[in-house]
C-alpha cells in the first residue's frame, strides 16, 4: 500500500493571500507525480486576514487545485512540516491513493448549538463506514464586554455576576469557549472509527479563527473528513505533570462556573493555590498566558481530562470546559517534559505523519520547537503538525477524549 500512497507537503511564506494560496497548493501537488489528490488539508496562520483575506487564500489554492478535490482546513497558531517551523504562513497536505474514498461534512454555529452542529455535520458527510476521521472545530473567542472591553479577569463582583448571566447570550452570538469537548461527545454517538481533531485558533489572542470547507471560508463551524481505504496508527502523548494538589469544586448547573474551591470563595482560593498575588495588576494582566501552565484535570476512564481556566468573573472562576467531577487535580507543563514525551512519539519511523499539537508547546518552547522538528525529521519522510487551541481524539473503542498540552498523531 505504501508504494501507491503519495503525499505532498506544501508551504508558502508569501504575504499576499492569493499568491500564498497558489504557492502552497503548487508546492504540495508537485510531490504527487502528476496524480490528482484524493484530499487536501490546508492550514494557515491568522495573518492573511490583513493581507488579502482568507477567501483570496482559498481562491489562490483553487487556481491550482483540481476541481472537486475534497478540501478542508482552518487557521492555526503555527505549524511544523518538512520545511521548518512557522508561526506565519500557509501549509498543506495533499494525499493521493488509488483505493481511497473521502468525503467532508460541515456543521455551523458550533458555539450556539454544538448538538445541532454535529447533526448537520454528520448529515452532510456522504461516506459509508470510513476507516478514520479528521476533524476541525472553531476555536474560542474571548468576548468583548460592553463598557469593559476584552477582559479575561473581571475583578468586580457585581460586574462578574452580570457577565456570568451574559454567557448564554455570548454562546448564542457564537462567542466564548469552543465547546469542542461537547462536540466530541456528541460526535461519538454517530461514528464508529477513530478520530483526530484540532481546535482552530489565531495567534494566541483568541479573537477570531476560521475554517475552510471546499471553496468556502467559515467561522463558528466544524468540518469533518471521513477517509476510507487504509487504517493509520493513532498515538497520543501528554506532557502534563501532576503537582499533587487536589481541590474540591462547587459548580453551577453549567458545570463550568465554579463558585467554591475547597469550600472557600473560588477566585481567592484559586489565587492562593497558584501562589498568585490577586492585588498585583501585572499578574492579573498575565492571567491568560499563565493559566495555560496551570491546567486542572479530572480522571475519567483512567485518563486525565483537562479543564482550562477561562475567565475570572468576580468571585467565581469560569472554566473553558465542562467539569464532570467535583474533584480536580492541578497539573503543570514544562519544556523538559515536552521534549522527553515527544521523543516517545517522534522517534518511530514512518512515511507520513499528520498531527495536532497544543499551541502551548510553541509558547513554552519558543525557538526550541525546532528540537521537536529535528526529532520528526530524523524518523519521518513527510509530515505536517499543526498547533491548535485544543486536541480531540476518539479511539478505536469509541472513547472520546478532548485534550490540551498533548501531541496526537496519525501515521502511516
Amino acid at each position: 500500500m505504501n508504494e501507491e500512497l503519495k503525499a505532498g507537503v506544501g508551504l508558502s511564506r508569501k504575504w499576499d493571500a492569493r499568491e500564498a494560496g497558489r504557492e502552497v497548493a503548487l508546492s504540495a501537488l508537485k510531490h504527487l507525480d502528476g496524480e490528482n489528490p484524493k484530499f487536501f488539508l490546508l492550514f494557515s496562520t491568522i495573518h492573511y486576514e490583513k493581507y488579502g483575506g482568507f477567501q483570496e487564500l482559498l481562491n489562490g489554492v483553487w487556481d491550482v487545485l483540481p476541481e472537486g478535490t475534497p478540501l478542508m482546513g482552518g487557521t492555526v497558531a503555527g505549524f511544523m512540516n518538512n520545511y521548518g517551523c512557522y508561526t506565519r504562513g500557509a501549509t498543506a497536505l495533499a494525499v493521493s491513493y488509488p483505493n481511497m474514498d473521502v468525503a467532508i461534512g460541515v456543521g455551523k454555529n458550533t458555539k450556539r448549538n454544538p448538538k445541532n452542529a454535529v447533526k448537520e455535520c454528520i448529515s452532510t458527510l456522504k461516506i459509508q463506514n470510513p476507516d478514520f476521521y479528521i476533524e476541525l472545530v472553531s476555536g474560542p473567542i474571548i468576548p468583548t464586554f460592553p463598557g469593559i472591553g476584552k477582559q479575561t479577569v473581571i475583578k468586580s463582583g457585581l460586574l462578574g455576576k452580570t457577565m456570568e448571566k451574559a454567557i448564554p447570550t455570548l454562546f448564542k452570538s457564537n462567542m466564548g469557549t469552543d465547546r469542542a469537548d461537547e462536540i466530541l461527545d456528541f460526535l461519538t454517538d454517530y461514528i464508529n472509527a477513530p478520530l483526530l481533531g484540532a481546535v482552530c485558533y489565531d495567534d494566541g489572542k483568541a479573537s477570531k479563527n476560521y475554517q475552510f470547507y471546499g471553496k468556502e471560508v467559515l467561522d463558528n463551524s466544524m468540518v469533518l473528513m471521513g477517509i476510507k481505504g487504509f487504517k493509520p496508527n493513532f498515538e497520543t502523548v501528554s506532557a502534563l505533570v501532576p503537582r499533587n494538589i487536589r481541590i474540591s469544586v462547587s459548580l453551577k448547573a453549567d458545570r463550568r462556573t465554579c463558585t467554591k474551591i475547597n469550600n472557600n470563595e473560588a477566585t481567592t482560593e484559586l489565587y492562593k493555590i497558584l501562589g498568585w498575588n490577586e492585588e498585583n495588576i501585572r499578574e492579573v494582566e498575565r492571567f491568560y498566558s499563565q493559566a495555560f501552565y496551570y491546567p486542572f484535570g479530572y480522571y475519567e476512564n483512567d485518563k486525565v481530562h483537562v479543564v482550562m481556566l477561562g475567565l475570572i468573573l468576580g468571585k467565581d472562576v469560569y472554566f473553558a470546559n465542562r467539569i464532570k467531577s467535583n474533584e480536580l487535580e492541578l497539573f503543570g507543563l514544562t519544556g523538559e517534559k515536552i521534549l522527553s514525551e515527544s521523543e516517545k512519539i517522534f522517534s518511530k519511523e514512518s512515511n507520513l505523519m499528520y498531527g495536532v499539537i497544543c499551541e502551548t508547546y510553541i509558547e513554552t518552547l519558543g525557538n526550541k520547537i525546532y528540537d521537536l522538528k529535528n526529532l520528526i525529521a530524523s524518523s519521518t519522510k513527510d509530515y505536517l503538525m499543526v498547533f491548535g487551541g485544543g486536541e480531540s481524539i476518539i479511539n478505536e473503542n469509541r472513547i472520546p477524549h478532548h485534550l490540551y498540552e498533548s501531541i496526537n498523531i496519525l501515521r502511516i
Binding site: W15, H47, A77, G78, G84, C85, Y86, T87, R88, D203, G204, K205, E285, R286, S289, I362, E363, T364, L365, G366, N367, I369, Y370
Partner: protein
C-alpha cells in the same frame, strides 16, 4: 543600504508581525542593518532612548559569551521586552522589541527563522568572497 538588500527584507518581514515593534541587526555601538524607522511602531518611541542604552550594555555580555555558546538573551524594560538572537560566530545579534505581554513563543519561532535566513545569506556572501 538599498531596499534590495536581502537582510533588510528579512527585517521588514519581521516588522509586519503585529507584535514586533522594532527590529534590527546590531552589535556593540553599531547598528549593522536597520529598516526605515518610520516602519517602527510608535509605541516604542517613549522608551527608545533607554532601550538603546540598555542594549549597548547587553552587547557587552554578548561579546563576552558568544564564544561559549550564548544563543538568546532577553531583557524586559517597562512594558517592553527586547530579544537578542545571536548570529553564530559573530558579535552581531538580531534584535527585536516586543510588548512584554506578547506571545513570545510564537515570535521566537519567526525570530529563529529570520536568524537562519541571515546566517544563510552571510555564509553565501562569504563563499562568494572566497571564490572571488
Amino acid at each position: 543600504m538599498n531596499s534590495d538588500d536581502p537582510l533588510l527584507k528579512i527585517l521588514e518581514d519581521l516588522l509586519k508581525l503585529d507584535d514586533i515593534y522594532a527590529c534590527m541587526i546590531a552589535r556593540r555601538n553599531m547598528v549593522s542593518v536597520m529598516p526605515d524607522t518610520n516602519l517602527f511602531n510608535q509605541k516604542i518611541m517613549d522608551v527608545w532612548d533607554i532601550v538603546s542604552v540598555a542594549m549597548k550594555n547587553v552587547f557587552g555580555i554578548i561579546e563576552e559569551y558568544t564564544s561559549v555558546g550564548l544563543d538568546v538573551m532577553e531583557f524586559r524594560l517597562k512594558n517592553h521586552s527586547v530579544l537578542f538572537f545571536v548570529i553564530p560566530e559573530t558579535d552581531n545579534a538580531l534584535v527585536a522589541i516586543i510588548p512584554s505581554l506578547a506571545n513570545k513563543g510564537l515570535i521566537e519561532v519567526e525570530m529563529e527563522n529570520a536568524r537562519r535566513e541571515i546566517v544563510e545569506i552571510l555564509n553565501r556572501e562569504e563563499e562568494e568572497l572566497v571564490k572571488a
